[in-house]
């Protein structure tokens, strides 16, 4: 009888410890934006605009403008034109614009790209796992990555149209650092 009581206590203690572990894991794995100046979280995602995948590591050595968007996001429509124009403007300096389509239906994303004449590469983050690692809470959001793969400039939360100065500074920081 005493052994059974002891077993019960051990099982109850293990259950409580397990639940506590889950709580701690959840608290420590909550998404938060990566630090500016730190390495850009790595990813490899399926392309929306073409076949195959694109690995962020393959862009090492080039400044990157990373824009999170979705076709269902109304503000994203408002900034698509400016991003496309900027990508053409900075293309000659080696800046790569990369769209990350977030929680979206592939067909809708392709229609969006076609409708807004987006020519730079776009990848799909359907599950939102990459957006989580970048601490993206609502699209659009934009990051700038320098040639060594570090995040630079400002993390723009909202449209680049509403943050034109921060956008220019971000691209310059990615180019010069």
């Amino acid at each position: 009888m005493r052994t059974m009581k002891l077993t019960g206590q051990v099982v109850a203690l293990a259950a409580v410890a397990g639940l506590l572990g889950l709580l701690i894991w959840r608290l420590t794995h909550q998404s938060k934006p990566p630090k500016i100046g730190g390495p850009a979280p790595a990813f490899s995602l399926k392309r929306v605009d073409a076949s195959g995948t694109l690995d962020l590591a393959s862009l090492r050595g080039k400044p990157v403008v990373l824009n999170f968007w979705a076709s269902w996001c109304v503000p994203c429509k408002g900034e698509a034109k400016m991003l496309e124009q900027a990508s053409r403007e900075y293309r000659s300096q080696g800046v790569v614009f990369l769209g990350v389509d977030f929680h979206d239906v592939t067909g809708d994303a392709r229609k969006f790209l076609e409708h807004h004449g987006v020519t730079y590469p776009t990848v799909q983050d359907g599950s939102g796992s990459v957006a989580d690692r970048y601490g993206v809470s609502a699209v659009p959001e934009t990051y700038f990555i320098d040639r060594s793969g570090r995040l630079v400039g400002e993390h723009i939360m909202g449209t680049v149209v509403d943050a034109k100065d921060a956008f220019r500074r971000g691209v310059e920081a990615a180019l010069t650092s």
């Binding site: 019960g8 979705a70 076709s71 269902w72 996001c73 109304v74 929680h103 979206d104 239906v105 592939t106 067909g107 809708d108 799909q124 359907g126 599950s127 939102g128 796992s129």
Partner: protein, 149 residues
């Protein structure tokens, strides 16, 4: 006469068109809305009014119109959004735990409860039982009962 019969068939086909086009019973948006999550608001589609949810609903309706089955639509959504798009985890692999763990917990709880009740009832029996009667008292009781007879 042939022309009239042909016209009747054409009208009947026009009205029966979309329903008859599928080789199997059509699934419905309302059926799938409760089984698919809105990825941005973390509720099922039928509980969400977000733009993302509306786009997914539109996708589902398009696929239903194209005669896709519920399983096909769910597979396509999983391929697009990952397994987290489904409200219930699939019945395979590690996800099976999500189905069996609550049942195991219930069974373990029932066992524990049964064991507790059994122990409680056994522990109470000696306390509730009347104390044993000694020989002298029993003899006096017999005498009293004999007088009453």
């Amino acid at each position: 006469m042939i022309f009239r019969a042909g016209a009747v068939v054409a009208v009947a086909l026009a009205f029966a068109g979309p329903a008859a086009a599928c080789a199997h019973p059509r699934t419905s948006l309302s059926y799938l809305e409760g089984q698919v999550m809105c990825p941005t608001c973390h509720t099922t589609l039928d509980q969400s009014d977000s733009s993302a949810a509306h786009r997914i609903e539109a996708f589902i309706q398009t696929r239903i119109d194209q005669c896709a089955t519920a399983d096909q639509i769910k597979s396509e959504l999983v391929a697009n959004f990952g397994a987290g798009i489904l409200a219930a985890p699939p019945h395979k692999g590690f996800d099976l735990l999500a189905w069996w763990l609550p049942l195991g917990g219930l069974a373990a709880g029932a066992l524990l409860l049964g064991f507790g009740v059994w122990r409680w009832s056994r522990a109470r029996t000696p306390e509730d039982a009347p104390p044993p009667v000694d020989d002298e008292t029993e003899r006096r009781l017999d005498e009293l009962l004999a007088r009453l007879d």
